[in-house]
């Protein structure tokens, strides 16, 4: 059976309310940027010790999620799972939208965002950051081509190849994102090669959580049929990804604890008295890991869309907590500048950081940009299948 794709009407009150709400958030975030750039970063909670704050948390969260959101399309065209094929267009779109939102936040938090052109023209090829700029730009191009192959019937035969290219690129891209931290030799909290694969698996979970929420919301709000087969498959997959993230987190911390030089930073994160410890255990592990897995796998909740939606939201909240612990927590703990010595004065101690409202709004503005991009584009281009009812999505599925 052929899948028919159709734009959403986008004329309902709800549609306009959604656009207006997201628009307000975006305007507020641009206002925050003007405020921060006009005064300088002294109006933020950031300092010379916590150089990357809340904006980076959101930016990297969205960028990581972006590459993961492409997985659904990859499963269809690279791994040949037919049931995911109707979702591939939306997967590509969500991926690009999340990347755009994340990059917006990243760029607008620069000290000199007006010099973006410098970042685009001056490259230091020893810098992971410079590589990331190339990887991000390349991702836009490759996924756009991939989408074109999917949209244009004559090009459909190249979809698998484009999908493979996009899949490979996204793995490299997230490796690059994780390596931003993994290659920082001087900081005890980072400097671990496992950061790269851990970021990849985090991207699987966060990206899929975004995708599930957007898929369920758009089908519910447009009253299009969405069958249990697809929803349950995605739910199960999310559960597996969340478990995999937890596995990597355990391995990373156990590996780090084994090194005497890292025992300080590990006990600071895992058993400390600062906000990072509850953020880790309650935010990341319980809210972002154990509860979503229970919601997905508990027999009584099987196939329940509300709990799957809740699980997805919790995965995202846990993801923010995880990136906060990694990025801010990792900087808050002082570097070991003088091994074997205690620093009495001039450096050391736990750096304090309280995110200011403009920083938080800028971060949320990035999420809003991603969502508004998806909302507009599914109105103007046929991204969504008319129906994802079980007999359409998987005709051979046995009830």
């Amino acid at each position: 059976m052929n899948i028919r794709y159709q734009q959403i009407q986008g004329r309902s009150l709800g549609f306009y309310a959604l656009i207006a709400g997201l628009g307000v958030l975006i305007l507020a975030s641009l206002g925050s940027v003007l405020f921060m750039e006009h005064h300088g970063h002294y109006v933020t909670g950031m300092s010379n010790r916590i150089v990357w704050g809340m904006p980076h948390v959101f930016a990297l969260f969205l960028i990581v999620a972006a590459s993961g959101a492409l997985n659904v399309a990859s499963i269809a065209s690279v791994f040949g799972k037919k049931i995911y094929k109707p979702l591939a267009r939306l997967s590509g779109l969500v991926s690009l939208a999340l990347l755009a939102g994340g990059l917006m936040v990243l760029v607008l938090d620069l000290g000199r965002p007006d010099r973006l052109i410098v970042a685009m023209t001056e490259y230091n090829f020893n810098s992971i950051f410079a590589w990331n700029i190339i990887l991000y730009n390349g991702f836009f191009v490759i996924v756009a081509v991939y989408l074109w192959m999917m949209f244009e019937r004559r090009m459909n035969k190249f979809t698998a190849k484009a999908g493979l290219a996009a899949f490979s690129w996204r793995l490299i891209l997230t490796t690059g994102t994780g390596s931003i931290f993994g290659f920082l030799v001087a900081r005890q909290a980072y400097d671990a090669v496992i950061m790269a694969p851990m970021f990849i698996i985090m991207s699987f979970a966060f990206g899929l959580a975004f995708f599930i929420l957007i898929l369920m919301a758009s089908y519910k709000w447009t009253e299009r049929p969405l069958g249990d087969v697809i929803v349950n498959r995605l739910g199960n997959l999310l559960g597996v990804f969340v478990a995999a993230v937890m596995y990597f987190v355990v391995v990373k911390h156990l590996g780090s604890l084994y090194l005497a030089e890292n025992s300080g930073v590990e006990s600071f994160i895992l058993f400390g008295e600062h906000v990072y410890t509850p953020l880790f255990w309650i935010g990341q592990i319980v809210i972002g890991g154990l509860v979503p897995m229970a919601l997905i796998y508990h027999p009584a909740l099987k196939g329940n869309r509300s709990t799957l939606g809740l699980a997805s939201i919790l995965v995202l909240i846990g993801g923010i907590a995880q990136l906060y612990v990694i990025i801010v927590g990792g900087q808050a703990y002082p570097m070991e500048i003088f091994p074997g010595k205690e620093i009495l004065e001039g450096y050391g101690g736990i750096a304090t950081y309280t995110p200011s409202l403009p920083e938080i709004i800028l971060g949320l503005g990035g999420v809003a940009v991603s969502l508004i991009a998806v909302t507009f584009l599914i109105k103007f281009l046929p991204f969504l299948p008319e129906s994802l009812a079980d007999d359409v999505a998987d005709p051979h599925h046995k009830k």
Partner: protein
């Protein structure tokens, strides 16, 4: 070898010569030195040896003060605590085993393999041929990745608009900065302000490669260390006594 001199090369190869002053904004001037007589080469490597046994805490305070006066940092009005610029500071450490306490001045260590230069996406962080690590303020986009990478916490981000800047040391909101080893003085044959502020052998500045230089001769004799020597960065600033 005929090579066009672009701005970066020009700044890199800045030597002792006539100074030309270009006004880039009201009150802020950019001073450059023409590079004709003594171009910067890798035949020199500027360095500093700091003997903490000879250095009193007052000496260190004087060094910090001299740097502030020379380069005009630390007078930011709105920035608080860790937001203020800090190019050099006094650090006191206590040995965990023996309890011995040392005070030392801490600034950019001018690494031979600087992590800040490696990570900088736009080549704004750079190392001159003579080993001085600098930030090109025209290329810096304020991403602060160099601050994440620096093992010495030696870099500062300018968190606010600045006024009353020194003509020879233009700074800018939203960019990163650190100790320049007083490159503007060194290129004129003078010593960095901090070294000059200590009127003794406690701080020796000079060319590490020159067998006749004082720093080279003393380093051959005394036991010295590099901070975080384990990172193999081959720092230009060396310490003895700790």
């Amino acid at each position: 070898m005929s090579k066009k001199l672009n701005r970066r090369d020009f700044i890199k190869s800045t030597g002792v010569a006539t100074a030309s002053v270009a006004t880039i904004a009201s009150g802020i001037s950019l001073t450059t030195f023409a590079a004709d007589e003594n171009p910067v080469t890798n035949e020199k490597r500027w360095g500093m040896l700091i003997d903490t046994n000879k250095l009193t805490e007052t000496n260190i305070d004087d060094m910090v003060f001299a740097c502030q006066e020379e380069n005009g940092w630390g007078f930011e009005e709105h920035s608080t605590g860790d937001q203020k610029a800090n190019w050099i500071r006094k650090v006191k450490v206590k040995d965990k085993a023996t309890g011995k306490i040392d005070a030392l001045p801490m600034m950019c260590q001018h690494c031979d393999e600087p992590p800040c230069v490696d990570v900088c996406p736009t080549n704004a962080s750079m190392k001159r041929e003579d080993g001085i690590v600098l930030v090109d303020r025209h290329l810096c986009i304020g991403c602060r990745y160099c601050m994440m990478a620096c093992p010495y916490d030696s870099r500062s981000f300018v968190h606010e608009d600045l006024s009353n800047q020194k003509e020879h040391m233009p700074r800018g909101k939203g960019t990163v900065e650190s100790c320049t080893m007083c490159v503007h003085r060194v290129d004129k044959g003078e010593m960095p302000a901090c070294a000059e502020a200590v009127n003794s052998d406690a701080v020796i500045f000079g060319d590490l490669y020159d067998a006749n230089s004082k720093i080279n001769r003393v380093l051959k004799k005394v036991q010295s260390t590099q901070i975080r020597a384990d990172l193999n960065l081959n720092t230009g600033v060396r310490y003895s006594g700790i």
